[in-house]
Structures are given as structure tokens and as C-alpha cells.
């Protein structure tokens, strides 16, 4: 039991005079109402961007990887930058749904569903880049250990193959986690559905859920286990992504700091993206009672903390480059900060390290406009972080005669914009057809709060519905 002082000070997470029924109403309504015109406009724009993505990829497959700007010595450029960028964004979803669940952070319930969806869509976008970067995309299945006529197997000594396993496991487990969480809410939509088709579809996907306590008993354990499994998984995925770099012998990549540094960056960028999307969804669907100032405040604090960790990692890299007395390492880092890509480096520093510091001020953590702008800055900054790590380490290699300067082509740019189109299209579809807030979980939080605040039973007050 909580102490009296805790009851007094702990702010409520579900605002307004809510009952279980009003929660069901408020969240189901978003899906059940007539599709707003704004949604169609947004969908038209993002759909167009997605078509552009398809066109760019088709052009790439028909012509060759040369349509992208990468060329030796910059063999990895926007493609891998975008891959790491998207994968990183995905991490906040799992962090919120799994790690905060294990820590019993009840504030997660309002944002976990959307964050998990974001994870899935981000992983889908991420997957595109390595998939098409292999060149002959029609034999991409060689990445998996499948028996075929050559008789060869993938090289398990390569971190690139570890990445295949890590990312595909991550995508699969995130999907399972998200779906398991959705089952009771899909049943809610099923029971409210008016049309036959909706009733049928929500009925099939809710698997015949009937809220049985004999089912909840296994369900809750399954959810806990998935959270327990996802927690080390999410840490391992970005660690393995960082091995793609760290296991190589390139100065600027070959460092042991990479796994924790990448994980912190991933959480940082993911929270920024959750913030961007949730502020938009909160504003568009009027969810102020569910995504409250407490939620936003907590997210700002996490961004401040992870942003500072990332800044610390940047500093450590420089310190180690100097302390190692390795002149190649030193050259790489001086070149990073003051070489031809200095502009990218300082964009990264300003967006990632400096801009979140504003959240030390409570006023700023309460200002929705500031939060939105900073979250956009962080999204940009974290993209530049990956760009800086990848391109500045490659473009001046050991042989000065092959030094070059990478420039993105229009295909690079349009593919990246297109992947945003795919991501946003999927997110729009999600807000249209699925409950964007975990209805059953929010009710659980409400029951807890009513119990603690001595409001009596939720069903009794305002019970006429």
C-alpha cells in the first residue's frame, strides 16, 4: 500500500471525470467516427510519398546501386544512415512498452500502443535499406540460412549476419507484443461494431476474446514474459547494429563504446519521434485527458537524460582518440569536427546535445510548442549522428589518393522522403482502424487511481450511459 503522502503528491494520469465507459467511448470514437477530411488530405500526401518510394526503388533495381551517391571509399552512406536512423526510432516503442512495464511505470499506458505501432513501422522502413543495398534484391533471401543449390551457408562470423537475425527477431517480437496488447481492445471494437464487416474483421482478429479471468491469468503472464524478453532484446538489437561498425577495423568505428552509445542514441531518437507523433495525435484527436502534462514532462526528462548521455559519448570518443595516441584515430576525429563535413558534425552537436538542455527548465517542459520544435531538432540531429559516424569515417581512408566527398543524389533524397511517406501512411492507417491508446490498460490505471483516491467505484458515479 502507498503512504498518505504519496497519494497526496502523485499526479493523476487519467484526467477529467472519467468512468470506464467514458474511456471506452473516447478512444473507440476515434476509430468509429466518420473519417475526417483532414485524414484524407494527410493520407493523400503521405500516400504520394510512398508511391515515390516505390518508384525510386524500382528505378534502383532496374538500373543499379550506382543511382545512389555512394561510391568507394564511401561504400555506405544514406542507405545505412537511414537504416540505423529508422531502427533507432523503433527502440523507444519497445522501451516504453517493455522496460517501463517492468518498472511498473503506469504513465506508459497512454503512449505505449502508439509507440509500439511506431516501432513496427520504423522497422519496416529500416528493413528497406539493407534489403535494397544488397544490389540483387531478388536473392536477398540468401541472407537467411536456407538450403539451396549452391550448398553454401551464410557466414555466422560476420556482424552483418548477426544484424539479420537481430533485426528480424526484433520485428517479429515487436509485432507479437503489439498484437497481444491489442487483443482485448479489438474485442472492445468488435462488441461496439455496427456494421457486419467490421464485426467480422474485429471479431476474427480479437480471436474470440471474452475477458475471461481464466484467460487474463495466462494473458498477463504472457505479457510480462514478452516484456521481460523484449527488454534485453531491444538492448541487444542496437548493440548488434553497432557491431556492424565496431567489429570493423576502421578508425572512428572500431570502438568499444559503440553498443551503449548506440542504445542511448536510439532511445533518445525514439522518444523524440514518439513526442512528435503523440503531440500531433493529441492535438488532432483531443487526447489531453489521456496524454497529460505528466506524460509529456516525463518524456522531456528522458530526452534530456539520454541526450546528455549521447553528448557524453561524443566527448568520450574525442578523449579516447587523444588518449590512445593513435594518429589515425586522432585524424578521424579532427577531420570529423573540422574537416569537410564539419557542418554535419556541428548540426549534430547543436541538435542533440544543446537543444534538449532547454528541458532543464520546467516552463519549457510545459510548453507544447517548444517540445514539438525540440523533438524535430532531435530527429534531425540523430539522423546527422549516423551520417557523421558513417560518412566521415569512410570518406578519408588510409590512402589519400582515394579520398573523396560524398554527395547525395536525388534518388537518395527521394528514397528517404519516400520512407517517411511509408512510415506516416502506416501510422495514419493505424490511427484510423485500431485503438491508438490501450483501452484495457488505461481502465486498469483508472481502477487503481479510483481505489487510491477513494473516489469509490467508477461504475457508480455518472453511471447512466
Amino acid at each position: 500500500m502507498s503512504t498518505v503522502s504519496e497519494q497526496m503528491t502523485r499526479p493523476r494520469l487519467v484526467l477529467g471525470e472519467q468512468t470506464y465507459h467514458t474511456i471506452t467511448e473516447a478512444i473507440s470514437k476515434i476509430v468509429e467516427e466518420k473519417t475526417p477530411r483532414e485524414w484524407y488530405i494527410a493520407f493523400g500526401i503521405t500516400g504520394g510519398m510512398t508511391v515515390m518510394l516505390g518508384a525510386m526503388l524500382a528505378y534502383l533495381v532496374m538500373t543499379g546501386i550506382g543511382v545512389w551517391g555512394n561510391n568507394i571509399p564511401v561504400g555506405w552512406a544514406w542507405d545505412i544512415t537511414n537504416f540505423v536512423f529508422w531502427i533507432g526510432i523503433g527502440h523507444a516503442g519497445t522501451l516504453i512498452s517493455a522496460i517501463l512495464y517492468l518498472f511498473r511505470q503506469k504513465w506508459r499506458t497512454s503512449i505505449n500502443r502508439a509507440a509500439e505501432a511506431m516501432t513496427l513501422f520504423a522497422v519496416a522502413c529500416a528493413g528497406i535499406y539493407p534489403l535494397f543495398h544488397v544490389g540483387r534484391v531478388w536473392v536477398a533471401w540468401w541472407l537467411f540460412p536456407l538450403p539451396y543449390s549452391q550448398g553454401m551457408w551464410p557466414n555466422f562470423r560476420s556482424p552483418l549476419l548477426w544484424d539479420v537475425f537481430a533485426v528480424s527477431t526484433y520485428g517479429t517480437v515487436s509485432l507479437l507484443f503489439w498484437y497481444v496488447g491489442l487483443i482485448p481492445d479489438l474485442a472492445t471494437l468488435r462488441d461496439r461494431a455496427k456494421s457486419k464487416i467490421k464485426k467480422f474483421l474485429y471479431g476474427v482478429f480479437s480471436l474470440g476474446w471474452r475477458g475471461s479471468v481464466r484467460h487474463w491469468r495466462h494473458y498477463e503472464i504472457a505479457y510480462l514474459l514478452l516484456a521481460g524478453l523484449s527488454t534485453p532484446l531491444v538492448l541487444s538489437v542496437h548493440s548488434v547494429v553497432s557491431f556492424d561498425f565496431a567489429v570493423s577495423i576502421l578508425p572512428g568505428w572500431h570502438t568499444t563504446i559503440f553498443p551503449p552509445y548506440f542504445v542511448a542514441g536510439a532511445i533518445f531518437s525514439g522518444f523524440a519521434m514518439v513526442m512528435t507523433l503523440m503531440l500531433l495525435a493529441r492535438w488532432a484527436y483531443k487526447l489531453e485527458n489521456f496524454v497529460t502534462r505528466v506524460h509529456l514532462d516525463n518524456m522531456c526528462k528522458i530526452m534530456l537524460a539520454t541526450g546528455t548521455i549521447v553528448g557524453y559519448a561524443y566527448a568520450t570518443e574525442f578523449f579516447i582518440a587523444w588518449y590512445s595516441a593513435n594518429k589515425y584515430e586522432q585524424f578521424t576525429f579532427m577531420n570529423r569536427a573540422f574537416g569537410p563535413y564539419a557542418w554535419a558534425y556541428w548540426i549534430m552537436i547543436s541538435c542533440n546535445v544543446i537543444s534538449p538542455q532547454i528541458f532543464w527548465f520546467k516552463k519549457m517542459r510545459e510548453n507544447v510548442v517548444v517540445m514539438f520544435i525540440v523533438s524535430i531538432f532531435i530527429n534531425i540531429g540523430m539522423w546527422f549522428e549516423r551520417f557523421v559516424i558513417i560518412v566521415t569515417s569512410l570518406h578519408r581512408d588510409f590512402l589519400p589518393s582515394s579520398w573523396s566527398y560524398f554527395k547525395a543524389t536525388y534518388v537518395d533524397i527521394c528514397t528517404f522522403i519516400g520512407s517517411f511517406g511509408l512510415f506516416l501512411t502506416l501510422f495514419l492507417l493505424f490511427t484510423r482502424f485500431l485503438p491508438i491508446i490501450a483501452i484495457a490498460e488505461v481502465k486498469g490505471v483508472l481502477a487503481h487511481e479510483l481505489h487510491q483516491h477513494g473516489h469509490g467505484a467508477a461504475g457508480s458515479h455518472g453511471g447512466k450511459h
Binding site: T19, G151, R157, P184, S212, V213, R217, I221, A457, A458
Partner: protein, 176 residues
């Protein structure tokens, strides 16, 4: 009215259903269940349910994943088609660890989801309780107890009367 599946009682609050579930169990009913919109604290204990056995299944699933991953990497790399790359050993736990970890997680996750569904007997798209109109509120804001007709203590009149006496706001008989 055709064959009877059982009686269904509707309650308004989590506190009521916990109390009612305890009384139903004390009466000696065994074929009964509670239905709630969200997991209600203390209800499992009131119903006399034990802890789920799912973690043991998942432990097995995870062990299978570890085994499968090690066999896969050892057999493909060291037995079926050994390739010397960079003078590294054909098989070593050091480089096999990431994939082993990932497959352990993957197999465990599959076991927890499909094991949970199997233990719950889901998917089951039809259930007699869906015939009761009031039952649509189970995913909204009401709490239900169902007692099946095959329970040895079930008796139409008595059971309905008993459920009413527990404070149910509505009690109905459900057709098979």
C-alpha cells in the same frame, strides 16, 4: 428456450465482482468464470486460481532456441560446408553468441504467445456467452460471473436467485 449454457450475472464494480466470485466459490461451484474489461486485482485469488504454468513452457521454448541456434551455426559452419574466413575458427561460442541470444528470444516469444493462446483455447470465435445481449458490456465497463449448467450444483431457479442475492444488477440465462 433451447438448451441452457448457464447463468450470467452482471456487476458494476471490481470490488463487487471480487466479493461475488469468492461467495460463488464458497458455495461449491466449480464450473464458473469471471469476465472483466481489464485484469482485476485479487480476482484470481478470489476464484481460487493457481498461477499460470506458462513460464515453464517459455523456459522450454527458450532452451530450444539456444539449442537450435548452436546446432545451426556449428553444423553449417563446421560440418556441412566449412569455409576458412580470416583464419577464424569454424565454430566458436564467441561469435555464435549474438545469433544464439536472438533465437532464444525469438523462440521464447513464440512460445509465450502461442502457448498463451493454446492454454486459453483461443482462437474460439463462437461462444455461447456472446448470445447474451448484456455480455457486450464485458469489454466496456461491466463485470460478469458465468456459472455453467453442467456444474453439479447448478439449478436454474436457485442459481439465478443466488446470483441476484450477491448484488448483481442483472442476471440472465444464456442459451447454448
Amino acid at each position: 428456450m433451447g438448451e441452457i449454457y448457464g447463468a450470467l450475472a452482471m456487476f458494476d464494480t471490481p470490488e463487487q465482482i471480487v466479493e461475488a466470485a469468492r461467495r460463488v466459490r464458497e458455495r461449491g461451484y466449480v464450473r464458473f468464470d469471471c469476465h472483466t474489461p481489464f485484469p482485476v486485482h485479487g480476482l484470481e485469488a478470489a476464484m481460487g486460481l493457481t498461477r499460470s504454468k506458462l513460464p515453464f513452457l517459455v523456459l522450454g521454448g527458450g532452451a530450444m532456441g539456444v539449442l537450435a541456434a548452436i546446432l545451426l551455426q556449428w553444423w553449417t559452419g563446421a560440418v556441412d560446408y566449412p569455409l576458412l574466413i580470416g583464419g577464424k575458427p569454424y565454430f566458436a561460442m564467441e561469435f555464435a553468441t549474438p545469433v544464439t541470444f536472438e533465437l532464444m528470444v525469438l523462440f521464447s516469444a513464440f512460445t509465450s504467445v502461442f502457448g498463451m493462446l493454446a492454454l486459453n483455447g483461443l482462437p474460439m470465435l463462437y461462444h455461447p456467452l456472446f448470445n447474451a445481449e448484456i455480455f457486450a458490456r464485458v469489454t466496456d465497463d461491466k463485470f460478469f460471473i458465468s456459472i455453467e449448467a453442467i456444474d453439479p450444483r447448478f439449478d436454474r431457479g436457485h442459481t439465478v436467485e443466488f446470483l441476484r442475492s450477491l448484488g448483481a444488477s442483472e442476471v440472465v440465462l444464456v442459451e447454448e
